[in-house]
């Protein structure tokens, strides 16, 4: 790249570069400055000292976290919630899409689809508000469980046993319909002649599903799976903040909620930045691992 080509490029594309300035600045300020800001993780940040004059403490914040009682609790909860979420809510939309695909009445199919997207448009606060109401003292679900003899009439969200099922199943409710869209699209892309060929070979419906449909949508499934694994360590902080109670921290507190509570609410900036940074790193590792495993075994990969 010599000077002349640089100048020629500048003369040609000057106005494009000028137009790109706002976007460039946006990313510099709100994406890259915070990355520089992770130096906080190595400081004992005080508002008076700011970024530059706060005391440098090296890896103190990290060793504090690694030796604290929280490391295990947060890692366990974050991973467990994500894995439960993956096991239940990853296959659920695929199964729904397969079932929807079997419906023959187009109008009925359309109606069911539209209804199933509905929860996706309801806000997290409203969903959690409904959960709090339904599972509270005298709530609708509480009453049903009491009738079945499965629970006592009290605020079920304060009990440790309920948090995980509530978290996972409410996500199922919210995401199953919307999640099925992409698989339905993949299903409609499967070559119809393959079914014809399978039928001629004497394959029954199950065999057709197993040998034609599933391989047909496999690339989509794998891409979605990689993306899910990449975010294994980032559960929905916004939802957990609304649903957890002091009594259920033991099973519900995750890295995201911990950073919010300690950092934003508690003002321990250095320490919570360190915890957040640790989180980002593990996420990145998981993403790369999932991607390379997939590239090796299925020849489908994100990058």
């Amino acid at each position: 790249m010599n000077k002349q080509t640089i100048r020629k490029d500048w003369i040609h594309n000057r106005s494009v570069y000028l137009l790109a300035i706002p976007i460039f600045l946006y990313f510099i300020i709100w994406s890259y400055l915070p990355m520089v800001g992770v130096v906080l993780a190595f400081e004992d940040y005080t508002p008076r000292g700011g970024f530059i004059f706060s005391q440098w403490v090296g890896v103190q914040n990290f060793t504090d976290f690694f030796s604290s009682y929280y490391l295990w609790r947060l890692l366990r909860n974050t991973l467990l919630l994500s894995i439960l979420n993956l096991i239940i809510n990853f296959p659920a939309p695929i199964i729904l899409a397969l079932l929807l695909n079997e419906l023959q009445n187009e109008v009925f199919k359309k109606v069911i689809q539209t209804i199933s997207y509905m929860p996706f448009f309801v806000s997290t606060v409203v969903i959690c508000g409904i959960i709090v109401d339904f599972m509270g003292y005298d709530g609708a679900i509480t009453k049903i469980l009491v009738k079945m003899g499965l629970a006592e009439n009290k605020d079920l969200l304060t009990l440790k046993g309920y948090f995980r099922p509530v978290y996972v199943l409410s996500s199922t409710w919210q995401g199953i319909g919307y999640g099925s869209i992409i698989y339905l699209a993949a299903l409609s892309g499967v070559d119809q002649e393959l079914y014809e060929a399978a039928r001629i070979d004497g394959a029954n419906r199950w065999q057709q599903t197993w040998h034609v449909t599933l391989p047909g949508i496999a690339p989509t499934v794998i891409i979605m799976l990689i993306m899910q694994i990449g975010s294994l360590l980032s559960s929905s902080t916004d939802k957990i903040i609304l649903l957890y109670r002091t009594q259920t921290y033991e099973v519900a507190d995750t890295i995201g909620t911990f950073v919010y509570r300690r950092g934003i609410q508690g003002g321990e900036y250095g320490y919570s930045t360190a915890v957040g940074l640790f989180n980002s790193f593990v996420n990145l590792m998981l993403l790369f691992t999932a991607n390379s495993l997939s590239r090796k075994y299925s020849e489908t990969s994100l990058f």
Binding site: V16, Y32, F108, I115, S123, D138, I182, G263, G276
Partner: protein, 300 residues
């Protein structure tokens, strides 16, 4: 050609239809309960033991009521919350679409030397970021914490949207732009007169994604706002529905016991009040969302 169906196939189809109906009911039931309970008599509602309410509760002495809605519709906090949310969504939409299409346009230019580095720079942020606290500190130093700006600026530009726009712009034949250039059109003219109209569908999709996300989101506000008069609707909802501090939102002045008496009614009416607009709109816009998911998946 009609293929004769085996009995097991027919059984499967009947079961499948039943599963689908149950699923649709499960999706609707919570909101149906909330709606019917919101117009039921509060005393009968407390006494009701059946779980989900699927019909308004009333009898000879207890009547269907719209009292919850009168309180909600005359509540200044909720109205202001609505207005604030509206402001954040509309301002955000305009700026977001403008910046995303500008960004998409720039990175879709062929024959530029540096734009691929901008793409790289943006893509990197999809996989790694500074996190919640450093971002908070940046905003604090900029002096926009606790202002309307932070609500508009946070999440304004998404890499994903820029990539979607870029894909749409790249699909437009280069010859179209070249001929416009020969006629003396500048980049702004090309963007607004040619590329923008041709990529209308994609622009509509990203606008809708942004608007619904912004309407429903509360965490940014919870992190950055402490001033009550800036609160978006979702933060007010959090107080009423989740934190159980609705008493401070509704100054029920009639009697001392009023709030606890009407609490459920007020909560349910609030849910309907906050959710109704989006429920009325979504059946009409869902096809754009379906389209959006497809566009996103092509990229993946």
């Amino acid at each position: 050609m009609k293929i004769k169906e085996s009995p097991s196939r027919i059984v499967f189809r009947v079961i499948n239809v039943i599963i689908m109906i149950v699923l649709a009911f499960a999706c609707l039931a919570p909101l149906l309960h909330v709606f019917f309970a919101s117009i039921s008599d509060p005393i009968l509602l407390t006494q009701f033991q059946g779980g989900i309410v699927l019909w308004p509760l009333y009898d000879a002495t207890h009547h269907i009521t719209a009292k919850g809605y009168t309180f909600v519709l005359t509540n200044p906090s909720l109205i202001r919350g609505y207005a604030n949310t509206f402001y954040y969504v509309v301002t955000g939409c305009i700026l977001s679409v403008l910046l995303c299409s500008l960004g998409g346009y720039c990175v879709s230019r062929r024959n530029t030397m540096w734009m691929k580095y901008l793409t790289l720079m943006m893509t990197f942020t999809m996989f790694f970021g500074g996190g919640m606290i450093p971002t908070y500190m940046v905003n604090k130093y900029l002096g926009i914490v606790n202002t309307r700006w932070v609500m508009v600026l946070m999440g304004l530009v998404s890499v994903f949207n820029i990539i979607i726009v870029r894909t749409a712009f790249q699909a437009i034949p280069a010859s179209l732009e070249e001929s416009a250039q020969l006629d003396g059109a500048g980049h702004m003219t090309i963007l607004f007169k040619i590329t923008f109209p041709l990529a209308k569908a994609t622009i509509a999709v990203i606008t809708l994604f942004y608007a619904v996300g912004k309407w429903n989101e509360y965490l940014t506000a919870a992190i950055y706002l402490t001033e009550r008069k800036l609160y978006p609707l979702q933060l007010i909802l959090r107080e009423i529905l989740v934190n159980d501090s609705g008493q401070s939102v509704f100054n029920v002045e009639d009697q001392a016991s009023s709030y606890s008496q009407f609490k459920k009614l007020l909560q349910y009416s609030t849910v309907i009040f906050a959710t109704l607009p989006i429920l009325c709109v979504y059946p009409f816009v869902q096809k754009y969302f379906v389209k959006g998911v497809m566009i996103g998946s092509i990229k993946g």
